[in-house]
């Protein structure tokens, strides 16, 4: 069965880039443009993995991470950041992977395939 990934980012360019990358590798991608949309999508049905941007207006990726992990500890969540410096806080213990957006596509695909 096709694995479903929820992609949360407020940047259209990033959404397009990652959607195409993941879809061309056989994943089904569901998109949310902010934290609120992400929570609505999650309440409608759980994906197999969540790719979550840290820096978003309104509810940040870190807020969403906490809510996701509180309800479904086992659902893998990757945090996407532009910079490395977010790494040191509690979220780094609870996110399954921390990826910088500049990572090469094959690195991201490998990490995703490690989990689902």
């Amino acid at each position: 069965m096709t694995k479903k990934i929820l992609l949360v980012d407020d940047d259209k360019g990033i959404i397009q880039y990652y959607s195409e990358l993941l879809e061309s590798n056989g994943y089904e991608v569901q998109v949310a443009m902010d934290g609120e949309q992400a929570l609505i999508a999650l309440s409608a049905g759980l994906p197999d993995l969540v790719l979550l941007d840290v820096n978003m207006p309104g509810k940040s990726g870190l807020d969403i991470l906490k809510e996701v992990k509180e309800a479904n500890e086992k659902l893998p969540v990757f945090l996407l950041t532009a910079y490395e410096q977010y790494k040191r806080n509690f979220s780094s213990l609870y996110a399954d992977e921390y990826l910088t957006k500049a990572k090469k596509p094959e690195v991201i695909l490998k990490k995703v395939s490690d989990y689902i």
Partner: protein, 488 residues
């Protein structure tokens, strides 16, 4: 503060509600206490031995837990009215007083620790503060009932517990939930085992922004909902004390630096304006300069007088100096567009050194280099060379009578760092922070834009440029992420 006001405040703080009124029926009398709220949406009735109480309030709290806390507090209140046992209530009121009056946080936490072990349910308690950046717990206030009875103060120990992975204790803080945990399951707890071990209650300390600032861990024999409610009550008091102390500290800091902030704001606004002005002026200067230079060149063709030749040469050299300056200012004010490609670090450094070979030999600079010839980076070749030139020229200029220039590279899993080290005595203390600011220059020559532009370029790469001093000079670190932008 009156005892009634203290009582209301104690309930409000520990239950996180706003009270409209609290009516206590005791000893055939009715006592009505008014709270801070004007309207309420809940009532709670609590009956205890010899008393009843009706609480009218606004907010949400778990009724079962709240009943325990209220019963406990009203019981103490009633006893204090009968003057049977006012000591404990007075102690709590004193503690609130010391929080309000800004008593040192160490003393407040100490007293809280002692009060927790004075309850019948807990023997030992530790209050830990969290450093979230380091993911460490430290600054433990520890009290045990046996020591407390001997009149000993709670001990302050600076032990650290580091979180390298999630654990039941980190869950308590991350999710903000009070729960029972087994301390023996926690990594890195060994050093704490002489104080606290085994099954225990843990309650998070919550800061002003709703995030955990620490945790209270208590152990004892009898565990019940009541024990949890009691620990929750005291940990809420701890949270209030810590938030209050932090706010006081922040207020003092803000007041002290108010003037400085204004000054900084003024300077930064000024810098932006100055940058815009400089860019406009530079742009307008460019055309006349080209004309002056061109005409001087043509004039030279007519020259026969050696003095005129000399003057024309001077005009030309001054014009070319001004042109360089204008180009540099324009360069700085432009956005940095990058053409990222995979480049060999060693080769790029060699190329740059070749470009600068004249400056290096005239400056009597001895260059040594240690870079793995296999290392590649993702960068805009020309822009990166521009940064290298800026940094190396800067190094040559701070060594007017010659010196050593060492270039080396270091690779980590995420980044590649290129170190450029000179023997020019280092950056003076006060200059460290300003060195990358535009228009900052300690030298006679130059616009003060070279290093500032370099920073802009490195940042556009997702990298960084930093400077530090070692024993003989300055060390510039050019940090590049191992991979480039999205389209690599």
């Amino acid at each position: 503060m009156t005892p009634d006001a203290n009582f209301i405040r104690l309930l409000e703080n520990s239950l996180s509600i706003s009270i409209v009124s609290c009516t206590v029926f005791f000893d055939a009398k009715t006592f009505v206490m008014k709270g801070s709220a004007v309207s309420g949406d809940h009532t709670l009735e609590v009956k205890g031995e010899g008393f009843a109480c009706i609480l009218f309030y606004k907010g949400n709290c778990r009724a079962e837990k709240a009943k325990d806390i209220i019963a406990d507090a009203v019981n103490l209140y009633c006893r204090s009215i009968k003057e049977e046992f006012p000591a404990e209530c007075a102690r709590r009121a004193d503690l609130l007083g010391s929080i309000v009056s800004g008593e040192s946080i160490d003393n407040v936490l100490n007293e809280l620790a002692r009060m927790i072990v004075a309850t019948p349910v807990f023997d030992c308690v530790g209050i830990f503060l969290l450093n979230e950046i380091l993911l460490e717990l430290r600054g433990l206030v520890y009290a045990s009932r046996s020591e407390s009875k001997k009149g000993k103060k709670a001990r302050f120990r600076s032990r650290k517990i580091r979180f390298s992975k999630k654990s039941p204790l980190s869950d308590v803080m991350y999710f903000g939930r009070c729960k029972m945990i087994d301390l023996d399951e926690i990594d890195d707890w060994k050093s704490m085992r002489d104080c606290l071990k085994g099954e225990s209650y843990a309650c998070p300390l919550i800061g002003m922004d709703g995030k955990a600032v620490g945790v209270v861990v208590a152990t004892g024999g009898k565990y019940s909902g009541k024990a949890e409610a009691i620990l929750q009550f005291y940990s809420n008091l701890c949270s209030i004390a810590i938030s209050n102390a932090n706010m006081r500290g922040e207020l003092i800091r803000l007041k002290t630096y108010e003037e400085d902030f204004e000054k900084v704001d003024y300077v930064s606004k000024d810098l932006v304006k100055m940058g815009m002005l400089a860019a406009t002026v530079a742009h307008e200067l460019k055309n006349p300069l080209v004309a002056i230079g061109g005409f001087a060149k043509r004039l030279a063709a007519f020259g026969s007088d050696p003095r005129m030749d000399n003057y024309i040469t001077m005009i030309q050299s001054e014009v070319s100096r001004l042109e360089d300056l204008v180009t540099e200012i324009l360069d700085y004010s432009k956005n940095v567009d990058l053409r990222i490609e995979k480049i060999n670090l060693d080769k790029v450094v060699n190329e740059t050194l070749k470009l600068l070979s004249e400056n290096i030999s005239i400056g009597m600079i001895h260059v040594s280099k240690s870079i793995d010839p296999e290392v590649t980076v993702y960068a805009d070749r020309n822009r990166f060379i521009q940064v290298l030139i800026n940094v190396i020229i800067n190094a040559i200029q701070v060594m007017p009578s010659g010196g050593d220039l060492k270039i080396s590279a270091e690779e980590s899993s995420e980044t590649i760092i290129l170190y450029i080290k000179d023997t020019g005595g280092g950056v003076p203390d006060g200059e460290m922070e300003k060195i990358f600011e535009p228009f900052h220059s300690s030298k006679q020559e130059g616009t003060g834009l070279g290093l500032s532009l370099s920073k802009k370029i490195m940042t556009a790469h997702g990298g960084e440029i930093t400077v530090s001093n070692d024993s003989s000079g300055a060390v510039f670190s050019l940090i590049l992420p191992k991979t480039g932008g999205l389209d690599d």
